[in-house]
C-alpha cells in the first residue's frame, strides 16, 4: 500500500463517515401524515368559566359600532358576557391553511376557537379530521333557520360541522368614473383600455370558474382539456400584461386607490366600500357562488361559546342586521322579513336575498379529489403567484 499514509486513510474514512452521517440525517426531516382524529384530539371546554371566544374571519365582514349604532358583536358580548377576540386575518383560503396546518396537522392548538373558510377548504379540513363536530342541541337556530340552498352541501350534508357565516357571489367590479361600462369577463381579459389595470382573485375556483365559462365551459363539469384551455387563456392574459395583480381580499384597496380600475370582485365588498363610482355587476358569462363557513378547529377551548355565537347569528333579526351591513347573501330564513325593520331599502336587495331565478344562474365549482385539486391548484398558482 505504497503512497497511502495513515493520514490519508484516516481522512478518507472520516470523509466517508461524515457523508454517511449526513445522508442518515437527511431522512430525519420527513413530514408526517397530517390526518387527525377529531374525537381524540380534543381539549377540555372551558367556556363556562372562561368567557372568551377567539374568532378569525375575512376582512370587512362584520358590522362595527358607530355612534349610537350597536353592532351585532357588541350586542352578543352584552347578552352573553362573552368577550370576543375577533380578528380579520383570513385573506385567502390557501394562505390561512398554511398558517394553521402545522398546528392542526400535529394536533396542537391553533389558538383559535372558530374560523370561517370557503366551502372547499372547510370540506378539506373536515375530511382530514381537523374540525370538531358542533353539538346540535346548542345550535337549534342553525338547523331551524338555514336557507334551503345551503342546508345540505355534499361535504357536510347535515351541517354537523359547519355553519355558513355569509354566502356570496363573485362577479366584476369597476370604477365607472375611470372606465366605460364592462359587461363580460371576456372584456376584462381582453379590452385594451384595461391593460395592466385589472386584478383577478387568487381564489382558484372563482377565477378559473370564469375562465372556463369564457371558453364556453361549465365550472361544475369540465374535462382536463377544457381546464388546460382555460389555464392557457389565463396565461395569455398575464403575459400580455393585462393583469396587474392576483390578490386576496386586499383588492379593495387597489380599486379604491385607482391603481386598478376593474377587477374580479366579491359582491358585498363593493357595496361596503361606500364609493358610488364603484359598481358590481354579474358578468354575462355567469356568476360564481360560494359560502364561507364557521368551523371549530380541534383543541379549541371555547367550543361552547362558539356555538352560542353561531346560534346567535342564526336569529333572523341579527342576521338581517349583519347582512344590511356587509351586503352578502344572508344564510338565514326569516331575515328578509326582519330586514323590514332594519332597513326597508334592502328587503328587495338581490345581493342579500337573491331570487330563485338568480340562484339558478349561479355556478359552483366542481368538487375535486385531493390529487386533482393539487394539480389544478399547482397549475393555477404557477400562473398567479410564481
Amino acid at each position: 500500500m505504497a503512497g497511502l499514509d495513515r493520514r490519508t486513510v484516516l481522512k478518507g474514512v472520516g470523509g466517508v463517515a461524515a457523508l454517511g452521517a449526513s445522508a442518515g440525517m437527511l431522512t430525519l426531516f420527513d413530514t408526517p401524515d397530517r390526518e387527525q382524529d377529531p374525537t381524540t384530539c380534543v381539549a377540555d371546554d372551558v367556556s363556562d368559566t372562561d368567557k372568551r371566544l377567539v374568532y378569525s374571519n375575512w376582512p370587512e365582514y362584520i358590522d362595527e359600532d358607530d355612534g349610537d349604532y350597536v353592532s351585532t358583536k357588541t350586542q352578543f358580548e352584552r347578552d352573553t358576557g362573552i368577550k370576543v377576540a375577533y380578528t380579520a386575518d383570513v385573506n385567502d383560503n390557501n394562505e390561512f391553511f398554511a398558517k394553521v396546518s402545522n398546528q392542526l396537522g400535529s394536533c396542537s392548538s391553533s389558538k383559535r376557537d372558530l374560523f370561517s373558510l370557503t366551502d372547499w377548504m372547510a370540506a378539506r379540513m373536515i375530511q382530514v379530521g381537523w374540525i370538531q363536530k358542533l353539538d346540535a342541541a346548542n345550535v337549534p337556530n342553525l338547523h331551524a333557520n338555514i336557507i334551503d340552498s345551503l342546508k345540505a352541501p355534499e361535504w357536510d350534508p347535515k351541517r354537523e360541522y359547519s355553519a355558513p357565516w355569509q354566502s356570496g357571489l363573485t362577479g366584476i367590479a369597476y370604477n365607472k368614473s375611470k372606465v366605460g361600462e364592462i359587461k363580460s369577463f371576456k372584456e376584462l381579459l381582453t379590452r385594451k383600455d384595461l391593460k395592466g389595470r385589472i386584478s383577478l382573485l387568487t381564489e382558484m375556483r372563482d377565477t378559473m370558474g370564469f375562465l372556463l365559462m369564457v371558453n364556453g365551459g361549465d365550472p361544475e363539469k369540465f374535462s382536463d382539456d377544457e381546464w388546460q384551455n382555460a389555464i392557457d387563456l389565463l396565461k395569455k392574459a398575464r403575459s400580455d400584461g393585462q393583469v396587474r395583480s392576483f390578490t386576496g381580499n386586499e383588492y379593495v384597496q387597489d380599486l379604491a386607490s385607482g391603481n386598478v380600475v376593474a377587477c374580479e370582485a366579491w359582491s358585498g365588498d363593493i357595496a361596503n366600500a361606500g364609493d358610488d363610482n364603484l359598481v358590481w355587476i354579474p358578468p354575462e358569462e355567469g356568476i360564481m357562488i360560494w359560502a364561507d363557513n364557521m368551523i371549530v378547529p380541534n383543541l379549541a377551548t371555547h367550543q361552547g361559546n362558539a356555538e352560542k355565537w353561531i346560534d346567535y347569528y342564526y336569529q333572523p333579526e341579527v342576521a338581517a342586521k349583519l347582512a344590511d351591513y356587509n351586503s352578502y347573501i344572508c344564510p338565514v330564513k326569516g331575515a328578509q322579513e326582519a330586514m323590514e325593520k332594519v332597513n326597508p331599502d334592502n328587503v328587495e336587495n338581490e345581493l342579500i336575498f337573491p331570487t330563485e331565478k338568480t340562484l339558478s344562474e349561479t355556478h359552483r365549482f366542481m368538487a375535486l379529489d385531493e390529487s386533482t385539486m393539487r394539480t389544478y391548484e399547482g397549475d393555477f398558482a404557477d400562473v398567479t403567484s410564481s
Binding site: T27, G105, S245, N259, V383, S385, S386
Partner: protein, 292 residues
Amino acid sequence: MATLDDVAAPKAKRKLTGYWLILPGALWLAVFFVIPFYSLISTSLFDPKGSVLTGYDMTWHFSNYVDAIDQYKGQIWRSLWYAGVATALCLVIGYVLAYAIAFKAGRWKNLMLVLVIAPFFTSFLLRTLSWKLILADDGFVVDALQTVHLLGDDGRLLATPFAVIAGLTYNFLPFMVLPLYASLEKIDIRLIEASSDLYASPLRGFLKVTLPLSMPGVVAGTLLTFIPAAGDYVNAQLLGSPNTRMVGNTIQSLFTTQGDYAAAGALSVTLMIIIVGAVLMYVRTAGTEDLV
C-alpha cells in the same frame, strides 16, 4: 514528574479556552444553520407525490432539481438580473454618498451617517408599502412625469420592473453605503495628497489611489446588497406585477400556497448554489485579502 504536570495543566487549560470561546458561535451555527441546512437538502429530495396532508418522504428524488430549474429558470434569471441592476445602482449611488460622507461632510458626518441608518427605524414592509403610494398610478410622481411627457398618458411606474428594481435599490442602499464608508474613512488622506503632489489629475488619483484602497468596501458592499436582493420577494410582491415575479416569490408560493415542498426545496437549494458559486467567483477575482 510532578513539575511536568504543573507546567502541562495550565497549558492544556489554555488550549481549551479557545474551544470554549467558539462554543456559543458554534451552537448558534448548528441550531440556525446546520440543522435547517440539512432540513432544506432533505426537503429538496422529497418524493413530489407526497402532500402537506399525507406527508412527504425523503426518497433521494434528484429529478426535483431538473424539474424545478426547467420550470422556473425564467424567475431565476429575472432575480439575478434585477439584483444585478439594483446592486450596480446601489454601487454608483452608494459610492458617491459614502465618499461625500467620508471626505466632504465635515461636521455633518455623524448626522449624515445617522440619516443613512434612519430608515431602519421603520419596518421594511412599511417603507416598501409607502413606495406603493408614491408610485401609484394617480400619484404625483406619475402625474409629473406624464406632464413632462416622460411617461405616456397611460404609462405607469407601479407594477413594472422599474418599480421593483427601484424598491430593491432603495431597500438595500444602506448595506452598500456603510461598508464603503468604513473603507473610505480608513484611507490615509496623505496618500491622496501625495498623488496630486506627483501631478496626478484628480481622476487619475481617484482611479489609482482611492478606488483601489476602497476595494474591500466595494466587495463587501456588493455582496451584502446582491445576496439578499437576489432572494428578496417583498419588493416584487408589493411593487411588481405577475410578470415581474422573482424566484423568492416562486419559492414562497410553492411552500405556502401550493404546499409543494419538494419543488420549493429544490429551487431554494438551486438558488443557494448559484449565489454561492457566483460569490466565490467574484471574490476570487476581486480578492479577499483586505475584506473586512
